[in-house]
Amino acid sequence: MSAGARTRGPGTRLGRAVSRLLDSGWAGLTGLAAALLAPFVIATPYALSIMTSAAVFVMLASGLNIVVGFCGLLDLGYVAFFAAGAYTAGVLSTRFGLPLLATVPAVIAVTVVAGVVIGAPTLRLRSDYLAIVTLGFGEIIRITAGNLSVTGGPSGIYGIPGLVDGPVAFYYLTVVVVSLAVAGASRLGRSRLGRAWRFVREDEDAAEAMGVHTYRVKLAAYVAGAVWGGLAGVLFAAQLSAISPGSFTFLRSALVLMAVVLGGMGSTPGVVAGAIVISLLPEVLRDLADYQFFAFGVLLIVVMLVRPQGLWPHRSREAAP
């Protein structure tokens, strides 16, 4: 769960001190401890609901981080996999009476297939073209869900059973699942495959020349991202008990991407921090009523101006200038 890498690169003394603190192994465990202890501080239904939403959002961001952050594939339709996961779980549990947990293998299978089906033709494209195709894919999934009768059409699916009883237990379950997912994504990023992803991101042609099978490597990133998104979808369905196409709009894809960019592309702790900021900030600003989204936008612009590299950027020995 930590960046692990030693600090490099020039900077002010304060900057170096901050970076050293951020890069030390403390971050992940402290974050987990904070998440686990939070309900002891505040356990109102409201707080639990937004903390659970934030945790699900962290999972989404860490999944997209594999695709965008590690591998450098700009995906504007990430919410499609989130929707595929949520709908698969929702349909199987409400129409066939399966417990939600039993739908997880099906969700993984469906998202892998979706990842391959979409990735196989589109990953031959690069940069802008890939972005356009994924954007279209996101919309296709949403509109299809709104028109099929098995997905409940525009009103969606309701009465989805929960995973566990009570919001506190569900929050803890979510935190555990999300922590495993975040740690898993981080480990993947540091594996042999992860190094190949970073290589593809830095220079695809050079990677190809060095013997990296770029197409297969990119597809692996895409499928891994899809599975992460799908599992986040199961948690989302369990939390809300009702899903409808309105929850899977382009705006959500954009917000997840924003969390990844804001936090620092390719940096696991950064993406977690970015996701927490993006999901909690609107709630913190809720009392501003009409100015809520104005303030949200201004704050995001300020962050981008002050820390263009992200809140908590990735530093690696390989990338040092």
Partner: protein
């Protein structure tokens, strides 16, 4: 990660926990806050941001109007009422967070709910907290079909609107009816239910059931499709933006017979978008609005004076939801959810804008109160009360 470091983290965390547990909102804090003193809080979830943000102020102001009125007369159970509003942005996740916020703030009755899609996931949140819900606007059949004891709908349902539409279509002597909807839950529900009624043997037939994509500017492809089926009556069940465009483009395409729109299209904007000539004579199925109510003039005047703008869609239902909540609290003699639900079920003949209230076994209105409006000189006026 060394042993000592881990130990430091955990001991620090434990210290923080112990310090903050005293605040009383954590797992160890115990007990509900809020007592039997102070104001009784009513919660209202309405869209204040997002695509449906325009309707939020109409509902919020009307509810506040009722709260002030009741407080002016001494409140309920010897306590004042207080309205707590939260934004649902017409989005499921925001709505669930908002509902959680209202529950945390100790509301005893929920009087909000506009978008059906955002209201559905809030039902279990209020249900688990034992808080009765009086839903002023959202009226999708899914809200009824779950048969939840704490959910009461005071807007007419899709079934009732379809029945009103059918009554008027038959009365007009139409033979082939084109139904158009925008694929949202609410709109499709009305269109499909109307089609079921049309498909019964005898009477008018369905010419075509056409779904359009909302937020476009050119519907000529849909209109060519619809007119190809040669209807003599077109019923649009979506919202006013598309309704205005469809009306204008139908007239431009040379369609001369009747056009009718659903309650989501009842807005002065429809005539502005369609243009005064095209909009003239367009019918609408609508629950009673302040403008069409007999003797509501004083209410509209007082409302306009207080908020600086006239009431709008669902203002009257929101106003009634608060009054109904106050009545139920009074009859129950308590803020206890179960007693309030029993009081709501027992209500008989409570005067509301939609007529005397008595809930059916499904917790819906026994009569939808739908009537037929028509546009005359750009304004919706009453055509037929369908009594």
């Amino acid at each position: 990660m060394g042993e000592s470091r881990l130990a430091t983290i955990w001991s620090l965390a434990a210290a923080v926990t112990i310090l903050t547990a005293g605040c009383g909102q954590g797992l160890l804090g115990g007990g509900q806050e809020g007592g039997d003193q102070g104001p009784i809080a009513l919660g209202m979830l309405v869209p204040q941001s997002g695509s449906e943000a325009a309707v939020g102020p109409y509902m919020r102001n009307a509810a506040q109007f009722a709260v002030d009125e009741i407080n002016g007369k001494g409140g309920v159970l010897g306590r004042k009422l207080e309205l707590k509003v939260a934004d649902d942005a017409c989005d499921a996740q925001t709505a669930v967070a908002g509902a959680g916020k209202l529950v945390t703030e100790g509301v005893v009755v929920s009087v909000g709910g506009y978008c059906s899609g955002a209201t559905l996931p809030t039902l279990p949140v209020f249900g688990k907290a034992g808080i009765p819900m009086i839903i002023p606007a959202a009226n999708s059949q899914e809200l009824v079909d779950q048969h939840l004891g704490h959910v009461f709908l005071i807007n007419g349902t899709g079934t009732q609107q379809a029945a009103a539409a059918m009554a008027w279509i038959t009365k007009q002597g139409a033979t082939k009816v084109a139904l158009m909807h925008d694929n949202t839950s609410y709109s499709k529900d009305i269109a499909v239910r109307t089609k079921k009624l049309l498909d019964e043997p005898g009477g008018p037939e369905t010419a075509i059931l056409e779904a359009v994509t909302p937020k476009e500017s050119d519907y000529s492809a849909n209109i060519t499709n619809v007119l190809g089926a040669k209807p003599d009556f077109v019923y649009w069940t979506g919202y006013f933006q598309e309704g205005g465009l469809i009306t204008r483009q139908l007239r431009q395409a040379g369609y001369k017979d009747a056009i009718m729109v659903g309650d989501g299209s009842v807005s002065g904007k429809l005539a502005e978008i369609a243009g005064p000539e095209a909009a003239e004579g367009v019918y609408a199925t609508m629950t009673q609005t302040p403008e069409t109510l007999q003797g509501a003039g004083n209410w509209i005047e007082a409302y306009t004076k207080k908020f600086g703008s006239p009431p709008g869609p669902y203002s009257n239902q929101s106003y009634d939801a608060v009054r109904l909540a106050a009545e139920a609290l009074k009859n129950a003699g308590s803020t206890d959810g179960t007693k309030v639900i029993a009081a709501l079920e027992a209500i008989n003949g409570f005067p509301m804008f939609s007529g005397p209230l008595k809930f059916t076994a499904d917790h819906t209105l026994s009569a939808g109160g739908f009537q037929i409006l028509v546009i005359r000189s750009g304004r919706f006026v009453l055509q037929d009360a369908l009594k």
